[in-house]
Symmetry: C2
Subunit: 325 residues, 2 copies
DNA sequence: CTGTTAGCGCTTTCAG
DNA sequence: CTGAAAGCGCTAACAG
């Protein structure tokens, strides 16, 4: 079956292609009679404009590039869902480029976005990324960028993050309120601003209160699980903080296996999709990925619509939900 | 900063744009001296071909449309991850179009894929979709389609699914081996082939063995949780089957709250990302989303490369992992 | 081996 | 109010 173009309609209507183009987008210059006629023909033939061609002509792709390290857990998919909702609303499409936490792939992804002439980039940094120099490529193509979630501590780009430090402080404060005395904190990769900021918040409050605590690192559920198991065996811990759903799952698995769910307080950052229903005793900072996605995408569109908009870091509000004991 | 085009390079090299185009893609007609010269200039100017333009010219987008109902859980993201790996490997990009389980949006999504002239469509059906007539649109544009996971029971499209019926049979058989007598099965939306097939498998084995069982439906963790709570209160159930991670989480939460984890056997379909670590006592059919994604994307590329390839439904192998008691 | 030319489908001045 | 013509950046016949 042949795909209909503007030319075909023009021939049938005995007008020029430009007239068809104008009529179909309700250009005021075209008489309403002609509009009706042309639209009738277009409908009859089931004409759909080739958005590829029109975007090419307009030198915009109507594409937003989303660069992420991984799909892990439900947080990232939630963010993507939030982004996609906003982006589709504006009749753009999202292309997703995972970097697998590899800075080389991150570079390639930025380049791909430029090759595809995306109209904007949303990016969450890989653990290997300590500066954002490689985004200069996007600048050269005048593509606006918003960094979300895994951000840089200093950057000249817009950033949408959650208030990591403050919320980690609240977690620590909660453990103090519960009168915990022997606290462990599990964190992710040290390169990431979210690790740094959450660690600062967590540590500072405990130090101020002269409470002993120790810092552990883990990069998977299993690792967090194994470390927690041995910590429970060797120390008399009474509280564990986990920086993400992934680590919390390992921590909880270990605490449950050791039958310590009533004695050890577990707290951390979670999207609230799984843990609260299964373990209502766990307290968590509910970081809603969708909300972050909405915010990041909206910020990007502000930038697309008005490139005089000034770069800033925008922390969205999240809540600490106290577990039921 | 100006974006470099082939023309710029042609001027600097004193050759025609077509020569540049050919030289850059190692066309055998071009002398190697000239190739070196042209590539040198291109590198020096940091030229990157506008893939948008070249795709337009070649009438291909290098885009694969992925139409999914939701992002829920980690299964779908895993599938997308699998798809993206294969697709990126081939230098294509993925665009994701969520339908939110709405058949109207599904229609729109198909149309969007056509508008964007994607080179292939991977699609998982919405719960509202009972036939695949609307895919005719894609046929009209000669866009190959592969349906994955949430498939139609009869269709003329390629399908990549897991062997739902067989694996549900194995689950039922496992409960029989465990000598369970009072079994509940939780299923999702009745429209979906995966529900139908898993229900048939589950029911047939239990019926054959003259075991009583009852069928429940739930569309969220909470619903499964609430129904399980009241079933435990009112019946003397000793086993619960759940069709997905989402339902299993609700079921497990209820069983745990009622302190019945040792008495009630829980079994179902899961991606194995969360449940096994937290609840090693649960048996599950490990349906690996990545594998499904790889398979679906590879099938699509076979179709793109060779459109004489015949439609068929391809069930990938999965495994039942028995929980530790 | 290299250049000329036309054109992918659409939009948008410019001219009438 | 409508048409003619140019062009987005690249590719590929065709010609030499």
């Amino acid at each position: 079956m042949k795909v209909i173009t503007i030319k075909d309609i023009a021939q049938l209507a005995n007008v020029s292609p430009s007239t068809v183009s104008r009529a179909l987008k309700d250009h005021p210059d075209i008489s309403s009679d002609l509009k009706i006629k042309i639209k009738g023909i277009a409908d009859a033939l089931n004409f759909k404009p080739n958005s590829f061609a029109s975007n090419f002509r307009k030198q915009k792709s109507q594409l937003i590039g989303v660069i992420i390290p991984k799909f892990c857990n439900s947080f990232v998919p939630d963010v993507i869902f939030g982004i996609t909702s906003v982006v589709n609303e504006r009749n753009f499409q999202v292309i997703i480029l995972p970097t697998n936490d590899d800075i080389l792939k991150e570079n390639e992804a930025i380049q791909k976005c430029c090759d595809y002439r995306v109209d904007g980039i949303l990016m969450s940094l890989s653990v290997e990324t300590s500066n954002v120099e490689h985004l200069k490529t996007a600048d050269a193509y005048n593509i606006p960028v918003v960094i979300f979630d895994k951000a840089a501590n200093t950057s000249n780009y817009h950033q949408v993050v959650i208030n990591d430090r403050l919320m980690a402080e609240k977690c620590a404060q909660q453990l103090i309120n519960e009168n915990r005395k022997n606290i462990i904190g599990f964190f992710g990769h040290e390169n990431l601003a979210i690790t740094k900021n959450r660690k600062i918040g967590f540590s500072s409050i405990l130090s101020q209160n002269n409470l002993p605590y120790s810092i552990e690192y883990a990069s998977s559920s299993i690792e967090a699980y194994e470390k927690t198991i041995s910590l429970i065996d060797s120390n008399n811990i009474d509280a564990v903080f986990g920086i993400s759903d992934e680590l919390l799952i390992g921590i909880i698995a270990a605490v449950r296996e050791k039958h310590k769910l009533n004695e050890i307080s577990v707290i951390g950052f979670s999207d609230g999709s799984t843990i609260p229903l299964l373990f209502p005793e766990v307290s968590y900072v509910s970081h809603d990925g969708k909300k972050l996605g909405y915010e990041a995408a909206n910020t990007l569109f502000k930038l697309i619509d008005d490139n005089t908009f000034h770069p800033k870091t925008n922390a969205i509000n999240v809540e600490l939900k106290i577990g039921r004991k």
